[in-house]
């Protein structure tokens, strides 16, 4: 039995599904990331778990106990929001001590626990300062400390890093993961950024349009997206999507995109799932496209439209037969805008989606 079970949860607003038949389970000591674009239902789901919103259908089971009708303050769950309310007129210490004082704990016990959690989060130096002097990361950690100090059985983190600068967000997401390893906190973490979800979470669930589209570890989701929507969502930089006619010939799969042929050897199970002569959606990430300055048997000729040097990698937009292909340039290859290059699609990295259901076939 899982630590927390979210069972068949649905919620409608004005007749439209905000969440549809959500099933998730969280093990003790893990962080489950929920990644999805804005408006996909992440916050609603967390609020249902916290008891702040009542689901239309389904139940929430915590350690075997159905808590669907339990009021929020009796659930033993703490929630940290995107911009957590930290009292500006109180010191870091008083902010963190606040929930313990509400519980009427003795002052020496409060002090002990505040210092413990401040030590853990690396914020002892700001305990006697007012929030106006905190950096973004410190502010967020004070909010987190206030949630952790009550020893919640489950922590709900709703886009806690969203309003932070990019650099601090990178540090904080690693730091959260290290914290989780250290103290084994059980948490649900939401974010609109799939890569942040992958870093923080033990597992990640992809929530799009109120439905869970896939759950798994990052590499699984990245390498085997369940459907085109997931592939598009997790692909940063953006996915290249083509339409291609597919033909089967002996043990070979041929793909024809515009006037370019690609082929690869495939196994029997895949042969049975592909209909020869039909058009499919072909998706390739920019890192699956090889660019060179000389032609090869399976390459397309193209013209460089835009080069974006990003330091560790260089991203190029290349016009081929009136479609724009985005590719990561190999390190060391220097090309400029307007240059003619040759583009090769990595046939082994190519993903094939059904044009109607958009479900991945290969």
């Amino acid at each position: 039995m899982a630590f927390l079970e979210i069972k068949n949860i649905s919620k409608k607003y004005r007749g439209r599904y905000a969440l549809k038949n959500i099933n998730l389970s969280i093990e003790k000591g893990e962080i489950l990331s929920i990644a999805g674009p804005p408006g996909s239902g992440k916050t609603t789901l967390l609020k249902i778990v916290a008891g702040l919103v009542k689901p239309d259908e389904g139940s929430i089971v915590l350690e075997g106990r159905d808590i669907t009708d339990t009021p929020p303050h009796l659930r033993g769950i703490s929630m940290v929001f995107e911009i957590p309310p930290v009292y500006p007129d109180r010191t870091g210490y008083d902010n963190i001590a606040f929930p313990l004082r509400l519980k009427g704990l003795p002052e020496n016990e409060i002090k002990k626990r505040v210092y413990e959690v401040a030590e853990l989060l690396g914020i002892k130096h700001i305990l006697h300062r007012k929030p106006e002097t905190f950096s973004g990361g410190e502010y967020q950690r004070v909010a987190l400390a206030r949630a952790l100090v009550t020893n919640p059985t489950l922590l709900l983190l709703d886009e806690p890093l969203k309003s932070l600068d990019a650099k601090i967000r990178e540090q904080m997401s690693i730091w959260l993961k290290e914290l989780q390893r250290k103290i084994g906190v059980t948490a649900i973490y939401t974010t609109h950024d799939p890569l942040e979800a992958f870093t923080v979470g033990t597992r990640t669930a992809i929530l799009i349009g109120g439905e869970i589209k896939q759950i798994g570890d990052p590499i699984d989701i990245l390498e085997k997206p369940s459907m085109l929507e997931v592939d598009e969502y997790v692909s940063i930089p953006a996915l290249n999507i083509f339409t291609g006619r597919v033909e089967l010939e002996d043990d070979k799969l041929k793909v024809i995109i515009n006037n370019v042929f690609l082929e690869k050897v495939i196994d029997k199970t895949l042969r049975e799932r592909i209909e020869s002569g039909k058009e499919y959606i072909i998706a390739l990430r920019p890192s699956d496209i090889k660019v060179s300055t000389s032609p090869s048997p399976h390459s397309f000729q193209g013209r460089v439209l835009l080069v974006q040097y990003l330091g560790s990698r260089t991203l190029a937009s290349i016009e081929v037969n009136e479609t724009t292909i985005r590719a990561i340039l190999p390190r060391g290859l220097r090309v400029g805008e307007g240059d003619i290059v040759y583009v090769e699609l990595d046939v082994d990295r190519m993903r094939i989606y059904d044009p109607d259901s958009k479900i991945r076939i290969a």
Binding site: A166, S173, H192, I219, S287, L306, Y309, S312, L315
Partner: protein
């Protein structure tokens, strides 16, 4: 010959006790995208507002096209500040939103119609011109905000973090669109952001700021490959550069970094570098970018360490490797390298990719130039 469009000369601005902008000078060339980049509170927005004329500097001058505009009011500077998408008037049509600036100037109706249509065409807004602004998507709203400025043909376009509200996906598209558009129009653009990746994607040149000071101006490549100091090295690049500090000493024929009893052999990294003799005995910081480190699962390389943690970055893994108790580095690895937590791996590093900084001043030490000097 590049023509200077904007010159900011020794600008200083104080807000009470806070020195928001500290003696900042730079030039922006005609037709380039120039980005002011730095963390919250570094002074980038104040600098932009001084250029727009919305703040008056305590000291220093601002020149646009050679003309001293320091005391010229904002509307007479011929610059336009693009506000965020939420500044679009929702009850007006897209057409009226874009036409706003021209109508305010009481331009003739047919000129307005022509300019609005041209700009709408350029921004891909033609089909929604008669739609209420409240009915269009975020990406369109962003383009409307931009269109409002383009239509008045300013000499310089100023943008203050216009993409912060958009989600990752829209942001990526907008960065590409904005870059393409700027190239097409050859407009001079000054952009403000805290996001280094955004700065790299959009800019011809970047000015890195911290705590009111301008630390380095250069192309994305110059800033990435030759950061002038520790802050720039740290701030540019994701995942962040690995920084290892210590005193460089010669011990038993080896070059080692010493710090609080910990010793890290740096012989293979530094022995070939010209001028290394002159930094022996000094407190230094070595910087190595994660993508310049290759992991060898069989344990060979410059150093050895234990795999501690993984992150995922799109198409690669970021592997955290513990070299010693307080010394950890991050390296990139393909998914196919099946590593597990606890594995002992070697790391190979190309000595040419090693950056060296002075620990006290934070300034870059160019070993080659020391050798030549």
């Amino acid at each position: 010959m590049k023509k200077v469009k904007l010159e900011v000369k020794n600008i200083t601005k104080r807000f009470g006790d806070l020195l928001a902008v500290n003696n900042v000078s730079f030039e922006v060339y005609e037709g380039e995208t120039f980005t002011l980049l730095g963390p919250s509170g570094c002074g980038k927005t104040t600098t932009l507002r001084i250029i727009a004329g919305l703040e008056k500097p305590d000291k220093g001058r601002v020149f646009i096209g050679g003309r001293d505009v320091t005391d010229v009011p904002p509307r007479e500077r011929n610059v336009c500040l693009v506000f965020q998408e939420y500044a679009v008037f929702p009850h007006m049509t897209v057409y009226d939103n874009i036409a706003f600036g021209l109508k305010a100037r009481k331009e003739p109706e047919e000129l307005i119609a022509r300019r609005v249509r041209e700009v709408a065409e350029l921004l891909g807004l033609t089909s929604v011109l008669n739609t209420k602004a409240s009915k269009v998507g975020l990406s369109e709203k962003q383009r409307i905000a931009l269109g409002r400025c383009l239509v008045v043909e300013p000499e310089i376009l100023l943008l203050d973090e216009p993409l912060t509200l958009a989600d990752a996906k829209i942001r990526e598209t907008m960065r590409r669109e904005l870059r393409r558009l700027q190239r097409e129009l050859k407009i001079t653009m000054i952009y403000v952001t805290h996001d280094q990746l955004e700065a790299m994607m959009l800019s011809d040149r970047i000015a890195v700021m911290n705590a009111g000071r301008l630390l380095q101006v250069g192309t994305p490549r110059e800033i990435y490959e030759k950061p002038k100091n520790l802050f720039v090295a740290y701030f540019i690049g994701s995942p962040t550069i690995n920084l290892i500090e210590g005193k460089l000493v010669r011990k038993d024929g080896k070059l080692v970094l010493e710090k609080e009893g910990l010793v890290l052999d740096a012989t293979k990294l530094l022995e070939e570098a010209k001028g290394v003799g002159k930094i022996i005995g000094r407190e230094i910081v070595i910087g190595i970018r994660p993508e310049d480190i290759q992991i060898d699962p069989s344990g060979h390389g410059v150093w050895k360490g234990e795999v501690e943690l993984f992150e995922v970055s799109g198409d690669q893994l970021i592997v955290h490797i513990k070299l010693a108790e307080e010394t950890k580095i991050r390296a990139m690895a393909p998914f196919s390298l099946r590593l597990r937590t606890g594995d002992i791996v070697g790391v190979a590093i190309n000595p040419d990719k090693v950056h060296v900084f002075d620990r006290k001043t934070g300034e870059r030490i160019d070993l080659l130039s020391i050798g030549e000097a």
